[in-house]
Symmetry: C2
Subunit: 262 residues, 2 copies
């Protein structure tokens, strides 16, 4: 990486031409993270070290890291170091779980966020249908894992999830490993398969409960439920998981992300 002036063009990849230096540094960092040498337990090299290695000032390096922190790719901990953002329960609740108990109009005390009890109802290997293939960007008919989960809050079933994963991407995944995972699903992807989910696209609609959903959620067939289609993405917006969640919104709400942030 070189100073960005006209007489000495930067010695980076061609696409980086004319990008600000801190953006180029950001890309370098993304590559380093993507390579997977730094799990959630092991800090990246210190800012001083990285600045030296990439031949930029500490301020420029921090600017790049700042952006990755804002995107929840990295987390900084003063005195300890900078880490790839771990997929712990707190992150799952904040970034990926959008169901909260309905406010009681007579009660001002806000319900605290509650981690759902998850039970796996089905685990199968099958061929991708057209929708799954399109979402996961694989060829129709390629192998996928199809998983069915029931999520309960305070003992009552509230969400029914159907996941589709590319079998190519999650080679050697078994029902046993899936069920006996110690943390969240995305932590499993991260630690066991080196795949870090960075963000998700979600589209929601209201539909009448199908027979399968009605049974899972203990509702009459045809009851309006929310159906959320989520595509979880990793670096380069590569699809990782396609998930359809059906939510019983009789006593719970779907809470949009931004409502949680400051």
């Amino acid at each position: 990486m070189q100073v960005n002036n006209k007489t000495v063009p930067p010695q980076t990849s061609p696409a980086d031409e004319s990008l600000p230096l801190y953006r180029q540094v950001k890309r370098e960092l993304q590559k380093i993270i993507e390579d997977g040498h730094y799990g959630p337990g092991k800090p990246l090299p210190s800012e001083a070290t990285l600045a030296l290695a990439l031949q930029v000032s500490i301020g420029t390096l921090r600017h790049a890291v700042d952006e990755l922190v804002h995107e929840h790719v990295l987390v900084r901990r003063q005195g300890k170091g900078t880490f790839v953002a771990p997929h712990n329960r707190a992150r799952f609740m904040f970034q990926f779980f959008h169901v909260e108990p309905r406010w009681d109009p007579e009660d001002d005390t806000p319900q605290e966020q509650e981690f759902p009890e998850i039970t796996c109802m089905a685990f199968a290997r099958d061929n991708a249908d057209a929708l799954e293939a399109r979402a996961l960007r694989i060829k129709p008919g390629e192998a996928v894992f199809r998983i069915e989960n029931k999520l309960a809050l305070r003992g009552r079933p509230v969400v029914h999830d159907r996941l589709a994963l590319s079998a190519m991407m999650f080679r050697n995944l078994t029902e046993k490993r899936f069920i006996e995972r110690p943390g969240t699903v995305y932590a499993l992807y991260q630690t066991d398969f080196g795949i870090t989910v960075l963000r998700a696209q979600e589209r929601a609609r209201a539909v009448p409960a199908s027979k399968a959903v009605a049974r899972a959620l203990a509702l009459p067939v045809g009851t309006p439920v929310m159906e959320v289609h989520r595509l979880a993405l990793t670096f380069g917006d590569k699809p990782v998981e396609y998930r359809i969640s059906s939510i019983n919104t009789q006593a719970h709400d779907y809470v949009s992300m931004l409502s949680k942030a400051s």
Copy 2:
């Protein structure tokens, strides 16, 4: 504002004690913005001027402004200045309008975002019911404006909105002014009433269409529709508007904010 050391304590408000200097500066800026002297057309004083006035370095001032820019409170324009973020159509579409046409599975071309055609169906002054009062943090029975809108995309009604505004806050609002506003609703609040909506909390659920909603959206009564409860907030999380949107999701989706951002 003073240098933050032990011998010369900072001369700011007591609550600011021990806050980093750039956070104190951020609060000062928020006060300046809140006072309303700087509309969306008039730039704030330049960074150099503000840094001098607040007796901090340019870097510290920029740090404070950076945060306000990230929160969409301010926008910077190189060569022109820094402005209170205007409520134009682009911002409305990005931050506050979450309805998009459903993807056609056979078609990869993404539908471009389309601004809805809004028609006002009702405008009335009434007394706040319990729900509205709680949401807007006013006393039950206080005067509110209650407004009903229909939103159409490509000529088809898709959303039915019911708004509640505190009449105290929007003194002198009339149906004529509301209907003949040149820009978005939030632009009206901003330019005509000095109230800048900063963010919104949203909770969504699936419900059967009521008679009123069914009529507005040309649907059979009981059809599942999405009902989105939005509370729009200004500085200090003060409630500005309480809105219930009913969405026909037969051909459209509710798209969560984060799906739009990078």
